[in-house]
Amino acid sequence: MPDETPDPVPDETPEERPDERPSGADGRRRLLGALTARPSRGQAVAGVLLALLGFAAAVQVNAVRTETPYAGARRDDLVQLLQSLSAAQDRAESQLTDLEDTRDALEESTDQRTAALEEARRQLDALQILSGAVGATGPGIRITIQDPDGNVGARTLLNSVEELRDAGAEAIEINDEARVVAQTYLTDGDDLTDGELIVGGRTVRAPYVLEAIGSTETLSEAVVFPGGLTDEVEALGGTVTVEQSDTIEISSLAPEPHTDFVEPST
């Protein structure tokens, strides 16, 4: 940008109609003169003012470039911006609420499903034990029936099993090989004198060892009460020993149940 020299004729600087046609040679001469003029007070003043102008312009350019777009915005614009932002926030918040509701509902249904699954698992465990599909372990008693004369038959053993069931036995096994479940039948074997029984299709021989899982106290009571299994077996010439244990292992399994005729009624 060019600059200026003090010229003798003062006049208004800006605001002039560009109609007059001054000589170009004159203008160029004056510009050259201004550029080569000796330093003077007027030049210094003009320099200070132009320095101020350049400084302000540079600062403003910097400010526009670095500051946030809202720094120079006017109040009306800012208010409008704020309103649209708060409207957007309201929308987002209501969306958030909706989504949280959905999430809660889903979590609830998941919880319900988990609970149902848990319950089903518990039932499955219980039913598997009751049907003899899996092994079982727990506190219980072990009854050993010695039968030297071969007089103890299916009837006696069936009675003892019924007594044990009555006392709350949850799993019963005979001689570590025959699991006694709801479908299990007991019959005398072919050779009665040998002491032979058929339990659910398996042949078991004396001495019979009945293992039952349940409350040890109640189960023992069920065996030794007057007129119970002990008396019955002793009347037949055998002996009964009852042993209580904290861990009775029942490992034999009942045959897998299968039905041809029955169907669940709804």
Binding site: Q43, A58, V61
Partner: protein, 110 residues
């Protein structure tokens, strides 16, 4: 020559010091810069016309800046700040154009 040097020094100082504009001055600084530009171009035209006077230049420079800032301030108080700023910029822009046209005629005869 000194004035040209002053302009360069000012720009360099503004770029390197990077002062932040005070909040109260923010709406006025751009208008003030445009007004000062107008005064400067007017001074250059006067110089080429052979009628330049530094006193007139100083007064017109300062009064241009002050009046421009005053108009913007008034506009802000009246609630038409943005419109008035636009108006001031338009008027100053027209003046700058006409001054530049005169300068051009002086220098190039066209």
């Amino acid at each position: 020559m000194i004035a040209l040097l002053g302009l360069v020094v000012g720009v360099i100082a503004g770029l390197f010091l990077e002062p932040s504009v005070p909040l109260s001055l923010q709406p006025y600084l751009p208008i003030a810069v445009v007004a000062a530009l107008d005064a400067t171009f007017g001074a250059m035209r006067a110089l080429l016309d052979g009628i330049f006077d530094e006193k007139v230049f100083v007064i017109s420079f300062v009064s241009n800046v002050l009046v421009a800032a005053l108009i913007v301030y008034l506009g802000d108080q009246l609630g038409v700040g943005s419109q008035l700023s636009t108006g001031v910029v338009v008027v100053l822009g027209i003046r700058i154009f006409s001054n530049v046209a005169a300068i051009r005629r002086h220098l190039f005869h066209a």
